[in-house]
Structure formats: C-alpha cells, structure tokens
Symmetry: C2
Subunit: 159 residues, 2 copies
C-alpha cells in the first residue's frame, strides 16, 4: 500500500508538471527558427508588394514605433503605415536576427535590416536599421509581431 500511495503522489506531481509545462517551454533554438521563418515570409510579402501578407505577420493589437512619428497601434494603423512605405518605393527588407530570448509566450528579437527603397523614376536608396521586436506565440505555435521598433544606424542630421 505504501508503494501505491507513493505512486499516487508521484502521479499527482507528474500530472501537475504536465499541466504547467507548456507556458514554461521556451526552446530558444526552436523559437529562433520560427521567428526567422516569419521574417522570411514578411520579406517575401514586401518584395511582392503584398500588403495583406505583411499584415498577416502582425497580431491584431500590434504596436509599431517608427523613428519619424508617433506610436502606431492596431492593424488598421499599421496598414496605413505600410501603404506609405509602398508609396515611397520600399522594395526589399533583408533581416539578420542577432539575438532571440524570452519566456513562455513572449519572445524578443534583436536584429538588423538592409532596406532598399526605389522611388518611381529615381535611383535606389540603401538604408540600414536596427530593431527590437516582441513576438507573441499564437495558438498554432507560430509567432507574430506584437511590438516593432527600429532606428537607423547612421548618425542623424540635426541630432
């Protein structure tokens, strides 16, 4: 009987561990792989001028914090931002992930981009940015951008 009681104790313990294991699970390598896949989908959408494809990588209540304006909240506001980006001739964003960390359903990613902007009838402009993104794990185990902030790598005129 003692063994039986011990077994019940262990079973209770194990069930409980199982029940709380998911929120604790944060496999950095796996999360990084998922984030890099999401970045690749985002890059492809930018190259195709596919606004819906870009927006699909953001959560519904995402926040974007662009360098040259106010904080932008919600998918509709982010859509307006990307419409402007496409209008000014944004053609390509290449991401390099530098660091991924986090816990539970929250990840952060530090990275760099190379951006190519080509306004109609003009030469292409190359730019570099650094960024920090908060990714949120979705019910299907993919990750979406929840907060997105970036700045430029070169000293700014007048600052």
């Amino acid at each position: 009987m003692k063994h039986f009681i011990a077994a019940m104790f262990v079973m209770g313990f194990s069930l409980a561990q199982f029940s709380c294991s998911k929120p604790e699970t944060f496999n950095e390598a796996e999360v990084r792989k998922s984030i890099e896949e999401a970045c690749a989908k985002y890059s492809k959408a930018i190259q195709e001028g596919n606004l819906a494809g870009v927006l699909a990588e953001y959560t519904d209540d995402a926040t974007a914090i662009p360098p040259d304006g106010e904080i932008i909240k919600g998918k509709q506001a982010i859509e307006e931002l990307y419409k402007k980006f496409f209008q000014i001739g944004m053609k390509e964003i290449v991401f390099t992930t530098i660091e991924v960390g986090g816990s539970g359903d929250t990840a952060y990613e530090i990275g760099k981009t190379k951006v190519r902007i080509q306004p109609v009838g003009q030469a292409a402009i190359q730019d570099s940015t650094k960024y920090l993104v908060i990714w949120k794990r979705q019910p299907d185990d993919t990750w979406k951008v929840h907060v997105d902030i970036w700045n430029f790598s070169l000293p700014m005129a007048g600052k």
Copy 2:
C-alpha cells in the same frame, strides 16, 4: 484510506503546482509597478549624474540600441554610452509607461520620454523619445533592463 490516498494525490499536485508556479506568474499590474519604480530610480540617478546608479538598472549582459550608432552590448559598453550622455549635458529623463506585457521572467514596456539636455554654457534642449524595453525578472523579484531601444518622435532631417 481512500481519503488518505486522495490527499496524497492532491498534495503531490499542489506541490508540483507550487514548484512551477513562479515562471507562470505574470501579474501585469505588479510588474508594471516594479518597472515604474525602476524607471524612477533610473531618473533619479540621471538627475544626480550618478553613473553607477544608472548602470545598476541594467542586467550585466544588457543591450542598448541607440538611434545614432551601432548596437551596444554589455555593461562596460553601456557605461561608455552614458559617459557620453553625461558629457553632452543630459540632465533629466522623465518616463511615461504606456504599455507593459510579457510572460514568465520576460516583460516588455512601451513608453515615452521627455529628455532635457543642457550643454555647458548653452540653453537647455528638450527632446522626446519613444522606447521599447525588455525587462528581466531578477532572483530578488526586481526587474532590470535587458534590451533598450529608442527613437525620436520628430521626423528626421534627411530621412
């Protein structure tokens, strides 16, 4: 005896819950309060020109991503950054926390600052920034800055 077995089962379950409860615990209101307290300590250190006080709010392997240069990693590099800030006359940073979220030991904070810079013998300059900070919970349940990125609110000349 059945009651005893059930009790052992429940006890095992409860102990396990207790053992894994900490990483799951993320009380947004409590975390926000801790972060705002840390911001207040940071602000006080800035006003006092207290470099060690500012650095105490960062993790040892923290990253800073300033708008006008490269990504800066580690406390020593961050110390050099703040030495420059003090040299150019940074006198005050007032933080307004806008949103706090996260899970486990990882929190993010979206906020705004008002910055006052007063170079020696010159008039004070006021500036505004928006920022995203990754905070890491410490063993003593305080939170420290792990990643810090900001940009300016006004359009940048030449961008």
